[in-house]
Symmetry: C2
Subunit: 373 residues, 2 copies
């Protein structure tokens, strides 16, 4: 499938689906302030905008920079909304005050407003409404991806696969980490990605001991573990993949770390299935690492949801309470890190399949998992 | 000055300077949660970490991914802090609870915590303390840049200048907007920038009517106005510059828009001076645009501060209350936008000079302002 053939999304139906949860949440309307949620509900991609989902209407407020873009994007998505352009904060306040005038219980995304905003909303913007903190109302809708959303994530994953296929053969030349990061980004963009989903991690040798190392000027040496963690964005949707490789033989200790993480990642992937607790996927990975005596070196959670955000619900962690649903897209990415030596992490982005399939999930990232280049 | 010669910053003295404002803010300690502020006070560049600035000690809390990086970066900056690694949220809570045990009035950055966090802090983390909302405490310290900070911004500005000098001669070939954006980014990175300070805006012809357009596959045509707004990051510090150019003669109406904005930008730059109200700089720009009958087409503020964040204090806007101080770094970027036709924006990043200089400010971006290529 080329990027031009991506199936269209049914953005316009999402707000009414969201409204069906208002009664349970104890609200009459929701002011959507988290930008990924605004995008999900309207198609708007700008950096500033708020959406009031009222009982009967949608009111979208943004500033003068986005007047034209808002009209274009909401129109293209088929959103029937009143679009209010407020060049100043005061004008935006007035527009939302008017729109919220009759609303008794106004939901605010508690993770999507700062404490300062909430205080200002309560004391100046919405003095007649009860402000109700809501958690994850839109995120819960986003948890299960439509097929057209999965297609975008899959396209982003395929681009990342292709980029690594081009870049991996250049690693024996001994490039600097920063060069490799730039190559990956370039290859992904040239294949139609709008950008990276996060700054690529290219961590060689001892740098790999930092799970989130930034690419440095260090050159890649033969026999070292090299962690490559990167992804891109296609039509707003992210991909995420990690591979660990070595130019030549990494020696017995490196190979052993690799084998443990690879087995853990396999166990995690096999545990992913509709109806399974996220915590159980984490446990499946962690047990393999712990059995190898490396439990203390696995210093992060097993994975996270991927979609319009590179990190979104559900968390795949020991303390997570979510259960996997068909259509959820998550990463499975165990890793071990040894200070002064290096690290190994292996990660796929997978989509949870409907119950009744032999496999619980379908990997969307597919680059081979060979340690030695 | 090469990037290797950047002067070192005195990060270690910043926390005690910050403490001197605690009494006026009515707090005994401040929990710093905004990441640019954490970086400013510690040198830590990771994506997760909190700093408790207590009366006598600093406690830095992050998660397992950043154990090594935190030790390295705080050590390199000469920060004497207790570093606590909490692999789980609960472990981080316990570490901060212990550190904040004796504190009566704990400041929370009201713009740096979500409402959800504040509610959790109040009900579970810091039940014995009074949580006091603070605004801009660290940002006010960051408002006046040290010479070593200005050197970094200047280096980022110089790299952007050089990138445009390489890319501008290629514009007559008719590249797509996306290609131009990628070239600018590449040239900046190859000169040592760690990345872009924001996704470059390359908006040709009618696309220029959207102040924050995203680069498209549209090719650049002769005689059109082309808005190029871009910047990069050097050691965490941002640059920001906009130029508007035309391949060949843009015609009388395009030239007129350009001349108005250029005069407005000049007026704005000349208004920048230590002790001048930011609102007066905005007015100086806006009066020129209004006198030309284009006031309604200038749909945004005149500028913003630049530093560790691409948008930071002070705002240079009609409603701003800040006054410029020597050492502040701000943009001056008037623009006009005409739907269906296009836009013109011209922007420099400037540093406010100490009183007594003939000039009120020194531009850090220096690329020439010729409309016609």
């Amino acid at each position: 499938m080329t990027l031009a053939e991506l199936p269209s999304m049914d953005v316009a139906s999402r707000a009414s689906a969201l409204r069906s949860g208002f009664e349970e949440a104890g609200i009459d309307a929701l002011l959507v302030t988290r930008l990924p949620n605004v995008r999900y509900l309207t198609g708007f991609t700008g950096s500033a905008g708020m959406l009031l989902v009222g009982p009967d209407e949608l009111v979208f407020v943004t500033d003068g920079r986005y007047a034209e873009q808002a009209a274009d994007q909401l129109g293209a998505a088929g959103i029937e909304a009143r679009v209010e352009i407020g060049v100043t904060q005061a004008a935006q306040r007035d527009a939302l005050q008017g729109a919220a005038a009759g609303i008794a219980r106004l939901g605010l995304e508690a993770h999507g407003v700062t404490w300062a905003q909430q205080r200002e909303f309560a004391s100046e913007w919405f003095t007649n409404a009860e402000l109700v903190p809501t958690l994850q109302l839109v995120e819960q809708r986003r948890l299960v991806k439509e097929a057209a959303e999965v297609a975008r994530i899959a396209a982003a994953c395929a681009i990342a696969d292709e980029a690594l296929a081009v870049v991996a053969p250049r690693l024996p030349d001994g490039p600097a980490e920063r060069e490799v990061a730039l190559w990956l980004e370039l290859e992904m963009r040239q294949r139609g990605a709008s950008g990276v989903s996060f700054d690529p991690i290219v961590a060689s040798g001892p740098n790999g001991a930092k799970p989130h190392a930034r690419p440095s000027n260090r050159r890649i040496e033969p026999g070292e573990l090299l962690v490559l963690d990167f992804g891109c964005v296609v039509d707003g949707y992210c991909s995420d993949m990690t591979r660990t490789v070595s130019v030549g033989d990494p020696g017995a200790s490196g190979s052993r770390l690799y084998d443990v993480v690879r087995a853990a990642q396999q166990a995690g992937r096999e545990a992913v299935r509709a109806g399974v607790a996220c915590a159980d996927v984490d446990r499946a990975c962690r047990e393999v690492v712990e059995a190898a005596g490396l439990g203390d070196a696995f210093v992060h959670a097993t994975g996270h949801g991927v979609g319009l955000e590179i990190h979104e619900a559900p968390r795949v962690a020991a303390t997570a309470r979510d259960t996997l649903a068909a259509g959820s897209v998550v990463t499975v990415e165990p890793g071990v890190y040894v200070r002064g030596v290096g690290g190994v992490r292996i990660e796929d982005t997978v989509v949870v399949l409907p119950a009744g399939n032999d496999d619980g999930c379908q990997p969307l990232t597919a680059f081979p998992k060979d340690l030695v280049l």
